[in-house]
Subunit: 279 residues, 2 copies
């Protein structure tokens, strides 16, 4: 059976998602807890978005394959459904900065990474002392210069749609930097905090933070509104585009197609994302 697990974490004390020997990572902590609760020698999961060091998640999604007998055995004599027991036991041993929100059985065609239609990130900034809130300081960047949201939103329109985002990506051998941004908009939360909502089919390495660094440079009046589009057209990274600090960035949600479309989606994404693999 295949299990989808929804996760939330405070990335501040993790060296990112991906397991690394000797470092505290979300995947490392999570897979260790899974192995303990399921009494397996090891557990391996596939994730929707491999977040970098310090980046948070409220809507991270992972899947793992599991023997139904192992799940039933781990639940013991609990009268609850086995997946409810699994969530409760995982949260009982996981650290406070990593929580399992839900576990559900999914069809074999569901792949946390390749089935995903889109990823939604939020980037939050308290740009005035009035908005600084110590209760959310782990996931809201504090800046001293007020941001001009209208200017940032005007600049953002040049980034919408299908583009080569090489100017905003750390290059990786053989990987494409072509992505489709379907939403990129700044607004004020009721608290006054500025938040950018960014939705794309997928993001390459450091892309959201470079986009945010570019737009905040404009929002602070240090570059013109046209600069974001110019950087995009240059199609090459520039040291003038700062990579915004990880603290403000949260993976909020991952979107998937309805079950009936999962198999078709998988073929499309695999063919597009990895040109070396046939279909």
């Amino acid at each position: 059976m295949r299990i989808r697990i929804d996760l939330a974490y405070d990335g501040g004390d993790f060296h990112g998602w991906a397991r690394q020997p000797g470092l505290r990572t979300v995947q490392g902590e999570f897979e260790a807890a899974l192995a303990t609760v399921l009494r397996l020698p090891e557990a391996r999961v596939v994730v929707a978005g491999r977040t970098d060091t310090g980046v948070h998640a409220r809507g991270q999604v992972a899947h793992l394959d599991l023997d139904r007998a192992a799940l039933d055995a781990s639940a013991g004599r609990s009268p609850e459904p086995p997946l409810v027991t699994l969530v409760r036991r995982l949260n009982g041993i996981l650290p406070a900065d990593l929580r399992v929100r839900r576990a559900s059985e999914v069809p074999a065609e569901f792949d946390a990474r390749f089935s995903a239609l889109w990823r939604r990130y939020a980037y939050r900034v308290a740009d005035r002392p009035e908005y600084a809130d110590p209760l959310v300081r782990q996931h809201v960047l504090i800046r001293s210069r007020p941001l001009d949201l209208a200017a940032m939103n005007a600049a953002a329109t040049d980034l919408l749609g299908l583009h080569d985002f090489a100017s905003f990506c750390k290059p990786r051998e053989g990987a494409t930097t072509i992505r489709t941004i379907t939403r990129l908009h700044w607004e004020r939360e009721p608290s006054g905090i500025a938040v950018a909502h960014v939705v794309a089919d997928a993001f390459c390495h450091s892309m959201v933070r470079a986009l945010m660094g570019c737009l905040m440079t404009i929002g602070e009046g240090r570059q013109d509104v046209s600069w974001a589009g110019e950087r995009l057209d240059a199609a090459t990274r520039s040291p003038a585009v700062p990579v915004a600090p990880a603290v403000g960035l949260t993976l909020e949600e991952v979107g998937y197609p309805p079950t009936a479309e999962l198999a078709a989606r998988l073929l499309v994404t695999r063919a597009k994302r990895d040109p070396g693999e046939v279909r």
Copy 2:
């Protein structure tokens, strides 16, 4: 000149508001920072709500009296208004869990404590794994039993209005436990987190947390809806009423009258709150 200062803090690492020798308190940290920035031997403030150990604040209000010359001297040659400089410098040396949001000049009749018309607290609970959010874990209580908000709101109606809240107060020599609760309502935030909004003219020691402990006992189905009113009528503390953990409690806002009514308000509050004082 009299200065009003609006403060926010994460109470988790403080031994409450009130200065205590050898302990890390909000007042202690804040007055030390004021003395440093204003280059005074010491600074003393009056506060609206003396929060207990572990209790948070987003809308705490304090006042202090200051020599205008001392303020101007502290601002140096900065072209900003002196109070903007004061806020910036205070935040520059305060720890990350304590922020100054605003400083403003107020009339001499403004008293952070005695002018206050009402205090609004919020108490937040994540009562299902789906709602647990590591990014807000310092100020949201995690409970495993789902809360019945309708039952808690039905029980809360018995607590509204002017009552002797002795059942919910830690007694203090010569202090009244008569208070007026004008709002006490549970609802769900968009995230699913349950939040109680509680407004009263003032609260006695541990009152909000005892009210929350009482209502959550009802919300978890361990007491009937009538129990809150019965506890109130008993007018004596009972070990059956748990004091809810401080982690979920935040002082959100303090309400003041318009400037023209400040002088009159001061007389009324002083007369009511301290029967030993004439008027």
